[in-house]
């Protein structure tokens, strides 16, 4: 990805080592967490955009509202993110013109998967998490890999701190590896989901340099999308 620049000097040039001239990808960092409940879904993403050790912006939202019931969180290469979400918006509008209604979350999930696989041999370098309310009114989370493999889940963490956050969600939401008897497991309410998402982000900001500044949280229900902001460490 971003080279440190010293490779140009003769002393540092090692014979036989290939130096790529141009990489089409750049990692702009960021993390996303999504948690689905019975009739709601919470999706949170940090707002830091970076490039190597530099910060582009402390206040860039990574959540894209595709419809009143569907939000896409997208991190990775920011250029690919903008291109992919732009394409999704156009295709969703096309759908609305022809079918005279908004796409369901499940349809969006499938379309996103196909759109990404169409670029199988020059992938969108993005980590996507789609959160929304499905046609039965239930909360749902879909997570993706860069070439569009799509998996439906109840909770998911993605992005640069994804591997740090996922085990925490497994424990707190999935109740895995927990030493509490079954009757004492806390039910998943909207407040608990927001609290867990916020706490995991605070932990992630401590350990991952690419995550921080603030977290934008979207709580999606059948009545609409509620937005919350949480400030994080700025270092």
């Amino acid at each position: 990805m971003s080279s440190l620049g010293f490779e140009q000097f003769p002393d540092y040039q090692v014979p036989g080592v290939k130096h790529p001239d141009f990489s089409p990808y750049e990692s702009n960092g960021g993390s996303i967490v999504a948690i689905a409940g019975d009739d709601f879904v919470v999706i949170a993403a940090d707002t830091r955009l970076s490039s190597g050790y530099n910060i582009h912006s402390r206040n860039q939202s990574k959540l894209f509202k595709l419809s009143p019931k569907t939000v896409l969180g997208s991190t990775g290469c920011w250029a690919d993110t903008l291109s992919l979400t732009g394409l999704m918006k156009v295709r969703m509008q096309s759908y609305e013109h022809t079918h005279l209604r908004t796409m369901t979350t499940d349809a969006v999930a499938q379309m996103l998967s196909i759109t990404m696989y169409n670029r199988r041999f020059f992938p969108y370098y993005v980590s996507n998490i789609l959160a929304g309310i499905d046609k039965d009114g239930k909360g749902v989370v879909y997570s993706y890999d860069p070439i569009g493999h799509c998996e439906r889940a109840t909770y998911r963490a993605g992005g640069s701190a994804g591997t740090l956050l996922q085990p925490v969600l497994d424990n707190q939401i999935g109740h895995k590896n927990i030493n509490l008897p079954a009757g004492e497991l806390p039910p998943l309410t909207k407040e608990r989901a927001v609290a867990v998402a916020s706490d995991t982000f605070i932990s992630a900001a401590e350990r991952d340099i690419y995550t921080g500044d603030s977290v934008l949280i979207n709580v999606i229900t059948k009545d609409g999308i509620e937005e919350k902001v949480l400030q994080l460490r700025q270092d």
């Binding site: 732009g86 156009v90 096309s94």
Partner: protein, 283 residues
């Protein structure tokens, strides 16, 4: 207009400087039911008369949304209209995607006019058989444009096209001064009143209309059936449009105008069925 030797191809001029195929295409617009467009300072409104139907599904769309800030009402060949609408939607989406802003209405209709003109100058093609009223709202305000198969694009304060639309145009002309300060519902009622003059032999009671509005802080939206009914009730409450007793549609055929619209040639001068003198060598 009679059949003559200059009317088989779009690419053939008549000695009077007329393109007959284009004029015949304009006739197709008159086959469709009447459609009215009018605007005030902040809103542009389209009202279309739907074919009275008990057995046709109510989704006989005369009005199509193209983008959040503009839409069209059509009269003529529905298939051609659908094709054009698809093209127009792609154009608007592409513009939005490239420039992150809405397609300015004036430029939009110009690009539509250019696309339609190509069909009037090409051997293998035919003009689009559909007339459209474009209603849009952008930074320059509300717009109503008329686009015809001849590719003429007219910026209008209000306009009506379709079968027996002359009465509607007369109503609109008489009430032009009132539109500027109307609110949305009043505009739609004016549109309905204009349409009632164009009903001809159809029963005045069984009116089905489709209406759509676009304007300041109002994305283009085709009104629901219940909204249409409400506006219809409101218009009926206003009574018959006043000119309906003075004029009947008899003798008001669009063909009586000075030449088909756009050509401007008075009918009594034409003698195309005779053709240039004694040309017996042609096929």
């Amino acid at each position: 207009m009679f059949r003559n030797q200059y009317d088989s191809d779009t690419t053939v001029w008549s000695p009077q400087g007329r393109l007959f195929q284009v004029e015949y295409a304009m006739e197709a617009v008159k086959q469709g039911t009447v459609t009215v467009g009018l605007k005030s300072k902040d809103y542009a409104v389209l009202v279309a008369l739907c074919r009275a139907s008990s057995d046709v599904d109510s989704i006989q769309r005369k009005i199509m949304s193209v983008d959040a800030h503009l839409g069209i009402a059509i009269s003529g060949l529905t298939a051609d209209a659908r094709q054009l609408c698809h093209y127009l939607r792609s154009e608007c989406m592409a513009y939005r995607h490239s420039y992150d802003t809405e397609y300015p209405v004036r430029r939009f209709v110009e690009s539509l006019g250019n696309k339609m003109q190509a069909t009037t100058q090409s051997y293998n093609r035919r003009p689009y058989g559909v007339g459209m009223l474009v209603a849009g709202y952008d930074v320059k305000g509300a717009h109503i444009y008329q686009v015809m198969p001849s590719a003429t694009v007219l910026n209008c304060k209000s306009m009506a096209i379709g079968a027996r639309s002359q009465s509607a145009r007369t109503y609109l002309e008489r009430n032009l001064g009132n539109f500027e300060n109307c609110d949305m519902d009043e505009l739609i009622c004016h549109g309905i009143q204009a349409i009632r003059g164009s009903l001809g032999t159809e029963d005045q009671q069984d009116l089905t209309i489709n209406a759509a509005v676009v304007g300041k802080d109002r994305p283009f939206k085709v009104l629901t059936d219940s909204d249409n009914q409400r506006c219809l009730m409101q218009a009926k409450g206003m009574g018959q449009p006043s000119f309906i007793d003075a004029f009947s549609e008899k003798g008001m055929s669009d063909d009586d105008e000075q030449g088909p619209s756009g050509s401007g040639v008075p009918r009594d001068i034409e003698s195309d069925d005779i053709g240039p003198s004694e040309s017996t060598t042609g096929p």
